[in-house]
Symmetry: D3
Subunit: 198 residues, 6 copies
């Protein structure tokens, strides 16, 4: 089970609302490579993971990503706070606004509601860990792209923190993949389905 602590993993304090920026940052809330997908991917994969230390890693990173999801939601909220009608129009946020006002909805930047089709849980150690490595790289690119489009230091500090964490997670999943590969029986390589085979 999860316990909520009323603080963010890293503080978010935006001085200047900027709905146009919120419009792209929402992709890290509910986009194809955002924090919702990351968290749910790892927290779902752990049930069928046979190695306790990798199961623990999935739980740890999955739980941390829940906290990142909260940070991104906070960014979107602070960037859209106290909008006036004209701000909505200037920012090109009308299509979001008509359905969600200034609420934080898990969607791609384009408006596509988040779908679990963007992630996988295969019940296979090697496939799941490769999926996780790819997820961390794709999240890193998304943060890269936000940094290219934003010049607000209040936002960029937070994005840089989150981006760094993805790189660390990529390294941790790389270690887990090596650990898992070492443990696999020669005959079993590329064929293991641990939850099913044991």
């Amino acid at each position: 089970m999860f316990v909520y602590q009323k603080k963010l993993e890293y503080p978010v304090r935006i001085s200047n609302p900027n709905p146009a920026l919120a419009k792209i940052i929402i992709s890290q809330y509910g986009g194809p490579d955002g924090e919702l997908g990351a968290s749910l991917r790892y927290l779902s994969q752990r049930y069928s993971m046979p190695y306790p230390e990798i199961k623990g890693l999935l739980t740890d990173i999955g739980t941390e990503e829940l906290g990142h999801l909260e940070m991104v939601g906070t960014l979107v909220h602070q960037l859209t706070r106290n909008m006036k009608d004209d701000d909505v129009k200037k920012a090109g946020l009308e299509t979001y606004f008509v359905d969600h006002t200034a609420g934080v909805f898990p969607q791609f930047a384009s408006g596509y509601p988040w779908s679990a089709a963007t992630m996988q849980v295969t019940g296979d150690v090697l496939a799941d860990l490769n999926e996780d490595l790819a997820a961390e790289q794709k999240a890193r690119v998304t943060y890269d792209n936000i940094l290219r489009l934003s010049d607000d230091p209040d936002v960029n500090n937070v994005i840089r923190f989150l981006r760094e964490r993805e790189i660390v997670h990529y390294q941790r999943f790389g270690e887990a993949l090596r650990l898992a590969t070492d443990r696999l029986d020669q005959k079993n390589i590329y064929a293991i389905n641990p939850a099913f085979d044991k």
Copy 2:
């Protein structure tokens, strides 16, 4: 942020694997009215909720639902543990198995990957709370239906616990709706968009 505690809110100990039952219980993991949608709905709505006590309620229930998601994932995992090929066929689980083996994937019972289109965040107090009341009722129906199709006491004890919690949440959201309605300015009734108007 969230802290993981290595225990379930209510214990899950299934003696008899039953993949056919897992096939319908997965709907409470990633179905249209399952725990993923519940949790994400409440944790997303809280950013634009203007009343601190209702914001706190959304956070509390959203966090509890994360724990329920974990319980449902554990149910699915224990019911599909140690399956043999023939078990898959007997349970009619082939279409799930080919893509996810015995991994726990957030999908409708029919196989539709969970979509955020099943939930809403409107940035409006009254609309969001009505959405939440409906969500709790629909989750309750899903648990009703699982109870009708299952006669495994190990499963049903867990389902009854979860079902009871939905009824409590329904009551809590009902109280919140009354509280919110009382606070609304007469002129503003049915028109409030707190995150936008203040």
Copy 3:
């Protein structure tokens, strides 16, 4: 069965085309909380509704919403009539135009084609009526938001009429919920599945 009458429930006569406004109003045609979803939700729920007067209410409101869908389609059509290429660009309507020219397509403002995942039919009296109450509130918010972004009186008169109807429907569904709750057997409360149990 349905009979078409060649008049709108409320007249729509737009003097000034305004494709930028059509871009957000389309959400009431095929958006997450628009008239298509409303109509189909009620007309689908009525089959399993056990109480004749609530079944009649679902049919009446569902049929009226079909007429509202027609009014919204007429709004979108009149606002995009006689567009020139430059009008498309000025209005930021290019992505809609490339696929639908000036046709009226049931989609979210963002371009997501309408999906039945946005609605539910549970076969349960209490869950369905709570779903309906939420639907009316969410539609009301969408109309609120259109009013905030539009200053065309020809449009706003129509939107205000439609918004008023949603509030009336909310009240009617509230009465239906009380009526249904009163009829439920004490033991059965929160557990009824009328189509299945009778």
Copy 4:
């Protein structure tokens, strides 16, 4: 606007419940080529149709398909009426039942909620009418396939009626296409966008 008449276009009286049959007939309610898509396609295309008689045809057929949708919903309802838990299991209806009990939900037979991505409105006379011809043929195939899997005369009489209507609609749309082609200016052939060009 639409007026509801409390009778079906063709009577539906099923003597023997048969949930397994309902499971495939639901595809004519909310499947890729079912009555919902047909009705909404025609009723949406009429706004941009420049020729009054074809506009009228789209309205007429679209309205009739609303009545067919009601007939199919009635079929599904009567086939699933008074189910017992065991009936659900014998019919293989568990995945539908867990989410919708015996409610009538607009989905593919596979469980995919109906999506407007299955239809088009292009704002172009020739493209829309070709789309409609294809829709009628695909609906006809769906009815063919239901007839192949069903041997219940109560059901098959209704299906045969509906199938006949699709063939008539195909002929009507074929005539409309010839009429539209005749009217097109030579220079304009294959390039018309009437709502936009006039």
Copy 5:
């Protein structure tokens, strides 16, 4: 099987990058009526097509459309080459850029990832060929609309070539439909399911 030839069916050489134009042309890559859907539709339908010459036609056109997909991808790539951050913003391409940088992703212009729900394979000669006729008309409209919004001759030459090919394909599918209709047994008309009936 397929062999790749390192040349385009028709050359694409764009002198002036124009990301705003790429934003709408992407719809011919992965939009509702684009080349991906065309190609996959025909290459999928051929398995159940009983007449060898129509099967060959589906293979030929399906293979050509793969080449058109490549041409459209090349267009999008050349139009977005060497973008600077400011170009992204000026073109209104931020929501695409955040998730795909300048990569070519199969999506609607609105951002909806391509879905096979936009196409059909019915296993029926008449339905499949009507579907194909509609597909060609809808693709033609999409090209019409691109031509209306673009005044770059480098782009328009390519679009005109592709548009011409759709018109030729429409004629070829029309001939195939006549051929198929002629061959159908009188009794069998509108009822054939060749893969199933033979």
Copy 6:
């Protein structure tokens, strides 16, 4: 452009129709980790790939996967050939049959039409190659699972061939990732967006 050669990369000759097996093999046609997604992913990523040899690799493997898609389509077709109505029911193929008869449609085994949301094109060398490594592993698991559920040697020979190719592709993409990493400037590591930066 692509040239079609009228032979399969590896022969498919199924002696015994087996629609129940087709029902799961379809996932390699249009499932989350099937050949359609593989092919389209690689053929789409190549536009923004800056290194010619990796661009060539993406083209080669993408083209080969098109041939695999054809082999899987042929498998599904031969397994469902000459079905009788009773075969459809015995195989539990009714929900597929009602919409597609014996046509080959790109869908998940569960019936979800293939969606491009299952793949990514990020315009980033490292992210795209990690995505590709994951794709190959997930495809390998799908083939593993088919082998567990099938005991038809005619099918399994083909599946084993396809599975072997995925393992080879995984190795090739691993080499490409090392090659790309070596070329990256130290400062640029994890931050490259080649199509954008050059």
